[in-house]
Amino acid sequence: MPLLRQLAADDFRQRLAHGKLPIRVGPYIYNVQSNLPTVAAGVATLYRDFRIADPGEFVDYNVAIVHSGLLQPIRGKAKFLFDKKSPFDIIPSGQAYAFLEWGMNWCVSVHTNEYLKLHAAAVSRGDRAIIMPGTPGAGKSTLCAALGLSGWRILSDEHAMIRPNTTQIIPLCRPVSLKNESIEVIKSFSSDAIFGPLSNETHKGVVAHMKADLQADSHDTKPLQATAMVFPRYARDEAQKLSPRRRTDSFILAAYHSFNYSLLCEAGFEAMKTLIENIDCFDLVYHDLDWAVNAVNDLPDRQSGL
């Protein structure tokens, strides 16, 4: 299986335009299609180290961002397509790249249920793997990006996928989505940050994506054992603190931030229970990113779970 960057530029553009670009992302294969130059540039930058699946392999998700209709390129409009159908409204072309990434997230959020899926980032280093559930605006993506630039492996920015009745996290590494001020914060944090196209005036403001697969083992598919759950919260005017969080509270909040906890019923409860009782839970209040990275670095070790 070649890496995307090993394709000749013309070959890459042709495959992308005709929807013959199956990219392996963790346990899944996305077939990606686009006839927009910004999207081609974004994919070429952010997915350059991802593997192209072999022709005979089963594709899980067919996604596309395309101009459709004769007037759309002139009007600056595009559509996100899943299985060739448009689940969302028409989008301005300037937001196309963001919608490709959101659309790829949506595929996993809505359609996969073999794992307990938390709306959380997940990072690992050595034999430690940390899950960071996030309320929107809490700063989990910013912290995730900073950790990725500080030697941690990013397992996922958006979906912490837990094998039921274990503490195993299934890696699903894709670019980290950053918004508004966070983009500049991360650019200042490290010059190693590599960004894709900027999407302006989305419903979340300005959005850009950072290349997340910066480690040699970023595309390993082996599951990692979770050792801790950290609930980050960015708070400019509060004292920075890392403090233990009660397990029952953590259970409820993690379940609230899950895509399919309720759907799984008893199996969801048992999966969350197994996870929480075998890891340590913390609250992390921060306003200085360096401080937060160090706090995560210094998390006490724990015996591995199941």
Binding site: V59, D60, D83, K84, T112, E114
Partner: protein, 367 residues
């Protein structure tokens, strides 16, 4: 010309002969047609799913999980709905998907629903709505125009949502709007209800088939067209075994309800797409000279509409067919003098609002 989903629904074991590309297309068509869980059930019934690779079967299992959760929620929600209706001495009569699932019918296996549909007598509609509001259900924001449409011209009130659980409830007092042709006498349905669980009723088997056919052929939007036809096929294979008189009474019952044209279309297209076994001559009995005359046009329209909205399945001129059917079905619901201002109004509203129902909308343009 058959398409992949159609073939595999009818002969699940053929799925074992598909390569990965074809399996991807199959799942894609099934999702598009809202039939993934039904397909998964068909494959499970024939023990095919366990022979497929896990990369494929995980998608099927996922769809079944969603269906199973809906089934559980439906069981709980229907108890709560029954409490509300009990408080005003009205029976709980469920329709469509919720009915199939609560009655544990084969047509309900793998069926996905977005809301719960119930039927109440027209004279009780205000009392019913008040009772639900007292029990914590609300209408959400419906702009004035849509509110008027519902009250005056529709056969249902604006959808109700349970504030605690998020469940959506559609309360119908008929199967077709009062402005529709034909004008259906809904009280006839109440004469033949079946109690499928203690205190939970559905239409009779014949009425369920007729209702499903009517709903499909009077609808403006065909995203669920294939799914609805699949429902019909499943029912027509199952109900004769439950009621030996099923076929004898079906056509005359449809005539009594003045819905024989819809039944005609339902039987015709179920047989054409899914090979539904029908007794000799029943299609002829249901039809008349007018249906025969219209048949080539209807075939053109409906056979295109029933294919999944998916490039691999679409026949040429499908978009034209869908537009014609949308106007046809609105014509059936509303006479022309009401229809044109209504469609114009809807188009205008779309420019300014998300939809007329649930979102907070400060704008309320009056034409």
């Amino acid at each position: 010309m058959s398409f992949l989903l159609q073939q595999i629904l009818l002969e699940p074991r053929l799925a074992l002969k598909l390569n990965n590309d074809q399996l991807n297309q199959l799942l894609s068509q099934a999702r598009s047609a809202r039939l993934l869980a039904s397909l998964a059930h068909q494959l499970q019934n024939e023990a095919v799913d366990s022979l497929l690779c896990t990369t494929v079967s995980r998608h099927l299992k996922s769809a079944i999980l969603i269906h199973d959760k809906q089934q559980r929620d439906l069981a709980y929600d229907s108890e709560k709905i029954k409490l509300v209706l009990d408080s005003i001495s009205e029976r709980l009569v469920v329709l469509k998907g919720a009915a199939y699932m609560l009655a544990e019918l084969p047509v309900g296996r793998g069926r996905l629903i977005t809301d719960i549909d119930i039927l109440v007598p027209q004279q009780s509609i205000d009392k019913v709505e008040r009772a639900f509001k007292e029990f914590g259900w609300s209408s959400g924001y419906v702009n004035n125009y849509n509110e008027r449409y519902y009250r005056k011209w529709s056969h249902e009130i604006p959808p109700l949502t349970n504030r605690k659980r998020g469940t959506m409830l559609d309360v119908h007092h008929n199967v077709l709007p009062p402005t529709a042709s034909p004008n259906v006498n809904a009280s006839l349905f109440f004469d033949r209800l079946i109690e499928v669980k203690p205190g939970i009723f559905t239409l009779s088997w014949q009425d369920m088939v007729i209702h499903s056919a009517t709903h499909l052929f009077h609808e403006g939007e065909f995203q669920h067209g294939l799914r609805d036809l699949w429902d019909l096929d499943r029912m027509l294979r199952d109900f004769p075994g439950r009621d030996p008189q099923f076929w004898q009474g079906l056509v005359s019952r449809a005539r009594e309800l003045e819905l024989q044209v819809s039944l005609f279309h339902g039987l015709t297209y179920a047989q054409q797409l899914f090979g539904t076994p029908l007794p000799e001559g029943i299609v002829k009995d249901t039809g008349n000279w007018l249906t025969s005359l219209r048949k080539p046009v209807m075939d053109f329209l409906f056979l295109r509409a029933f294919r999944p909205d998916h490039p691999q399945c679409k026949l040429p001129y499908t978009d034209l067919a869908l537009r014609m059917l949308y106007v046809r079905s609105h014509l059936l619901r509303m006479p022309l003098y009401l229809l044109l201002p209504h469609l114009a109004r809807k188009a205008w509203m779309k420019l300014f609002e998300d939809d007329g129902h649930s979102r907070e909308s400060p704008k309320n343009k009056e034409l």
